[in-house]
Symmetry: C2
Subunit: 337 residues, 2 copies
């Protein structure tokens, strides 16, 4: 009673061979409905649980998809993880999620373990660091793997990369602020040297060049508190600035808070645009304009292109950029918008 019942136990109970039980498990049309019903009843009676590991061993495909995430504490990534998993689940695949915590060594260990556990495919939102041996391992093991949101391996032929078109988003934001009458626009927040910071900033830089204005850039952590501090710094050191494109909404919300406390009317005296369009950004006071990255649909698309690769051999394009869309709200326009 301690060991788990197997198909042999079920077969004995139902008075058939184990082959028949196996066929019933796969809903084979070969089995007479009556026999199938009897077998199913026997499964109930003995408390049978399918042993997927054993099945996989023979058929050598686990239906397990791995997801390695660089920071499970960041809502942007967890939203991705949640929608990715949901999409796979709906198509009958189980997802194992693991968090590397921005640690390349941890990431290597996780991936190693996932390969051992026989994942059929892998999506990685990678930690920065030396990852060549990690990706070599993946190549050897022949596990279809995509890089999302961050590109750390340049071998996009083997490890296709997909992300958002942040460059375009930054351009949209800059043009919108200029059109709304902003005179001096700063780019605020984001860690220096990170690719994603460069991308989000790039569209802003082009627009500043186009209108012949010197850009003003203040780097910082992508957090609410950093945003508040940077706002103070701008009011002190750059009083001429009357608008900002923020690395993300958290920074923008922190800035908004600090500006309003100092009596600045956000949307009139100072215009603000963020990135990510978090749920709460629509509800801030004033509501925050933001470059919306539909991370939910991104997660779903990543899931289906990975499955197409796995099941139909359709290799995803080496690089894919999902388009983004600026959502304008009161923080960048008149208060009543």
């Amino acid at each position: 009673m301690d060991r788990r019942p197997t198909i042999l136990d079920v077969a004995a109970r139902a008075g058939v061979s184990k082959s028949t039980v196996s066929l019933v498990l796969k809903n084979s049309p070969q089995i007479k409905a009556e026999t199938a019903a009897r077998v199913r009843r026997a499964m109930q009676e003995v408390g049978y649980v399918y042993n997927r590991a054993a099945a996989n061993l023979r058929s050598s495909s686990t239906g397990l998809i791995g997801l390695v995430i660089n920071d499970l504490r960041n809502p942007f990534f967890t939203e991705f993880a949640a929608s990715f998993q949901m999409a796979l689940f709906a198509r009958g695949y189980a997802t194992v999620i693991s968090n590397s915590g921005e640690d390349a060594a941890m990431q290597a260990a996780i991936i190693h373990s996932m390969i051992e556990h026989g994942v059929s495919a892998l999506a990685i939102s990678p930690a920065y660091g030396d990852v060549t041996s990690t990706f070599d391992q993946l190549a050897r093991a022949n596990v279809p793997t995509v890089q999302v949101l961050r590109q750390v391996s340049s071998r996009t032929d083997k490890f296709p990369f997909s992300s958002f078109d942040f460059v375009d988003g930054g351009g949209q934001a800059a043009r919108h602020l200029i059109a709304s009458g902003a005179r001096r626009i700063a780019f605020v927040g984001g860690l220096e040297g990170r690719q994603i910071t460069a991308e989000r900033m790039s569209g802003y830089l082009s627009e500043m060049q186009r209108i012949g204005t010197e850009p003003i850039v203040l780097y910082g952590q992508p957090s609410r508190n950093a945003g508040a501090e940077l706002a103070q710094q701008i009011m002190r050191e750059h009083p001429q600035v009357d608008a900002a494109i923020c690395f993300n909404d958290l920074v923008a919300l922190g800035m908004m808070n600090a500006l309003e406390r100092e009596g600045q009317r956000v949307g009139e005296d100072f215009r603000l645009v963020g990135f990510d369009d978090l749920e709460e950004s629509a509800q801030s006071l004033p509501p925050l304009s933001s470059v919306s990255c539909d991370i939910t649909s991104f997660g779903e698309k990543t899931a289906s292109s990975l499955l197409d690769w796995l099941t139909k051999g359709v290799v995803p394009p080496a690089t894919h950029r999902q388009s983004v869309r600026l959502v304008t709200r009161a923080s960048s326009g008149g208060r009543g918008v």
Copy 2:
């Protein structure tokens, strides 16, 4: 070259039997160092990857620990997930994390799938709903399972429950506010009817009864925006209130923001205490007093008690409450604190 090399390939390459290879894999001291080295070299050469599923099939223990989380979008739970996983990883166990998204049916499907995949043990921060059949399944499959943070099954003998001593935390917060000179204290935020709301409120209610004051309770979503709205409502409808214990820090931060915008000085005119002690709470303006729940250590303890159960048969106590500690900052005292 397409199929993964097995120990037989390694054995052939190294000129030994597959048993020897297996022993090398387990670092058996029986194998001569020289032979082991030769075998290891052969593994490198053929690109061998351990097949854990096959190993598990024979030894019937996967070393896979499942974690089912009710809401991967909530930082409190993701912090738990991250520390739980780290702790297990450090002890050589792989964790598979899955998100039920507060959906009991999804949760049932996830747990079913995890059992099939042969998890050795399970931790569940459960979704509310009808879970009897889900837990029956677990009982039948004989998988050691703990409930954390939310108790949905009353069979704590089979499914031990552990959480924080929120009741005590609420009491600490209330006594502190009374001692600081607050005259009228409200309890703000948290969904009505949820056990965790009741727990966090309970200590407050006792203290109000003790000092003979009618409690004032305003329910709401556990979010920043809800906090801001509830603050407005309090200023309008309960002008006599000069302090609040909030369901969590998000609510408190939202309240703080709304209060300050209306010119109230938080910490002087209005005293505020939250729950959870988020990282950013120490850095808000003013810094937020909060009941600190050390979720990191909670995750680690959960991991090790689960492993003790799995490996040594030490069943955790039916109910465990980790103690919490009020951290007082300027939001509940003088501004200069």
